[in-house]
């Protein structure tokens, strides 16, 4: 207990002594955390969105004629052999007609006189909702095209492909901003710790002379790194939350709020990001100690 109060006092004194570079470091750390978590938030929401829009992920395989039950079994067997497929559903002409009627709603009288079997029967294939299956959807649809009796395979091609490349891009951006985060935090923290070490060289030497343990000398600097990480990442996260709410407010229409179900990180994710940033800072200060404090 006494140990920690003494350590904390040392840490505070250190940080006050080099408050300018402390401020710089805090700013850099929080900015890096903000940038990284901003992109990560977009990515997470995009994934979420992709999973939510399952209807658009469905492939519709149009058939030239109503398949008899053994044929249906054949189709089922051939399609389900792909483990990316969650389930399939047969829709015959009559069902398709009924759905179409429902979609038209009040305008359904335009269908007057149209034969009930003018829509082709189809198979609706629901792939597993994951990015992995999205990436293979094109090859899968090519395969479905080769099945006998298939007129045409339809899916939200454009949309899915664009969405998929967006997700790919986001992955790259996240990796880049993540490495930026790692480099800036460790570098900046190591830099400030080095400044503190230099400004207190005389005292550190004296501490050693009067019988301080290595831990006694080291701990305040590790604590300083941890504090920088904690404060920096915390304020970065707070800034992101503010930004998030502001953006939400800008788009707050009656329709869009339900259309774009954006959500902030859950608590565990927030804690994870803050914890990782803190860990990085501790590593940064540790490397500075290793280099500049011959213990």
């Amino acid at each position: 207990m006494r140990f920690f109060t003494v350590m904390l006092r040392h840490t505070c004194r250190n940080m006050l002594l080099t408050w300018k570079s402390q401020g710089m470091t805090l700013f850099t750390v929080s900015l890096s955390v903000l940038i990284f978590s901003f992109f990560y938030l977009i990515y997470a929401n995009a994934l979420h969105l992709g999973a939510a829009l399952d209807d658009d992920l469905r492939l519709i395989v149009y058939l030239d004629e109503e398949p008899p039950p053994p044929m249906q079994e054949e189709y089922r067997r051939k399609i389900l052999k792909f483990d990316q497929v969650e389930r399939i559903e047969f829709v015959d002409s009559a069902q398709a007609f009924k759905r179409f009627e429902q979609q038209l709603g009040d305008n359904r009288d335009v269908l007057g006189g149209v034969p009930a079997d003018f829509l082709p029967p189809s198979i609706e294939v629901y792939p597993i909702r994951s990015m992995d299956s999205l990436s293979r959807i094109k090859r899968f649809s090519d395969y479905l095209q080769t099945l006998p009796g298939v007129l045409k395979v339809q899916y939200g091609k454009e949309w899915i492909e664009r969405f998929y490349s967006f997700i790919q891009l986001m992955r790259v951006v996240i990796i880049l901003s993540g490495s930026l985060l790692i480099m800036t935090t460790t570098f900046m923290v190591a830099h400030t710790i080095r400044l503190t070490l230099l400004s207190r060289q005389q005292e550190l030497e004296l501490l050693r002379l009067v019988g301080a343990t290595n831990n006694y000398i080291r701990t305040p600097f590790l604590l300083e790194g941890a504090l920088q990480g904690l404060l920096g990442a915390g304020s970065g996260m707070a800034a992101l939350l503010l930004l998030f709410n502001w953006i939400k407010l800008q788009f707050a229409g009656p329709a869009t709020s339900s259309l774009l179900p954006f959500t902030f990180f859950s608590w565990p994710v927030v804690l994870l990001i803050v914890g990782l940033a803190t860990l990085l800072c501790v590593i940064g200060s540790f490397s500075a100690i290793r280099r500049f404090l011959q213990l």
């Binding site: 006494r2 140990f3 005389q202 005292e203 050693r208 019988g211 343990t213």
Partner: protein, 247 residues
């Protein structure tokens, strides 16, 4: 503790120290200091007194020979165990080694903080020492603003603050008047009576002239024969001897 058989606290065996490149500071010194002893170390400037004290507290490693302090082989002590040795030793450095930006109280407290003494006890001990050294007014003064003599007393206060088993005082009275010198010697004697082993390096003959304690004289890094009985008979450095003060 005076009745128990003498036990070596500091034991030097044929110790030499050569500073790079070729400065022979200490040559072949063998010396045993018993627990509870008070010993004066004299010799002219450059004789190697400071070097000897630095060797004992492991601020330097000997070039040759063995040093044993409180049962520890000082030369072989690994870096991570040096604090065990340093905690047994309180040293008043010739150049004081005070932190000029910090207060007098902070400078003294630092020695007690590293062994996690409770705050109240630190404060009490600090005030007590300052009073004994006639520095009560300077509790919150910055160490850098003190006079040399005041700084010297703060350095001594820090050295004895933890009641160390061994006190090494390097020229503890160099900047002090007779009265204040007496106070400092009083403080050191008091710690000696409580069992501390004390080494005092000094030029000041008046410190030991009337004293019955052992005196060792260094000359060009070598030990002269003990001359505790008649230290002033050999005036190695014909300097002015101040009038004897009442120690």
């Amino acid at each position: 503790m005076d009745t128990s058989p003498p036990e070596a606290m500091i034991d030097l065996i044929k110790v030499s120290k050569i500073y790079p490149p070729e400065v022979q500071a200490i040559t072949d010194i063998s010396l045993t200091v018993n627990r509870g002893e008070l010993l004066f170390l004299t010799g002219m400037s450059g004789a190697g007194k400071t070097t000897l004290l630095r060797l004992i507290s492991r601020m330097e490693k000997p070039s040759k020979g063995m040093i044993d302090v409180a049962g520890m082989d000082v030369a072989k002590l690994p870096q991570c165990k040096i604090h065990l040795l340093r905690r047994k030793i309180g040293m008043a450095y010739q150049d004081f080694k005070l932190l000029p930006e910090r207060t007098v109280a902070d400078n003294i407290a630092i020695a007690m903080e590293v062994v996690y003494r409770p705050k109240s006890s630190i404060e009490k001990r600090t005030r007590d020492l300052l009073e004994q050294l006639n520095l009560t007014q300077k509790y919150t003064a910055r160490a850098g603003e003190l006079s040399r003599g005041e700084q010297q007393r703060v350095a001594i206060a820090r050295a004895v603050a933890n009641w160390p088993e061994i006190i090494l005082a390097d020229e503890p009275t160099g900047n002090l008047d007779a009265d204040t010198t007496a106070r400092v010697m009083d403080l050191l004697h008091r710690h000696n009576r409580k069992g501390a082993t004390i080494l005092i390096a000094t030029h000041d003959k008046t410190l030991y002239q009337q004293d019955t304690h052992r005196v060792i004289e260094l000359s060009f890094g070598r030990m002269r024969a003990p001359q505790a009985e008649m230290p002033d008979a050999d005036d190695a450095y014909g300097e002015f001897i101040p009038p004897v003060s009442e120690v």
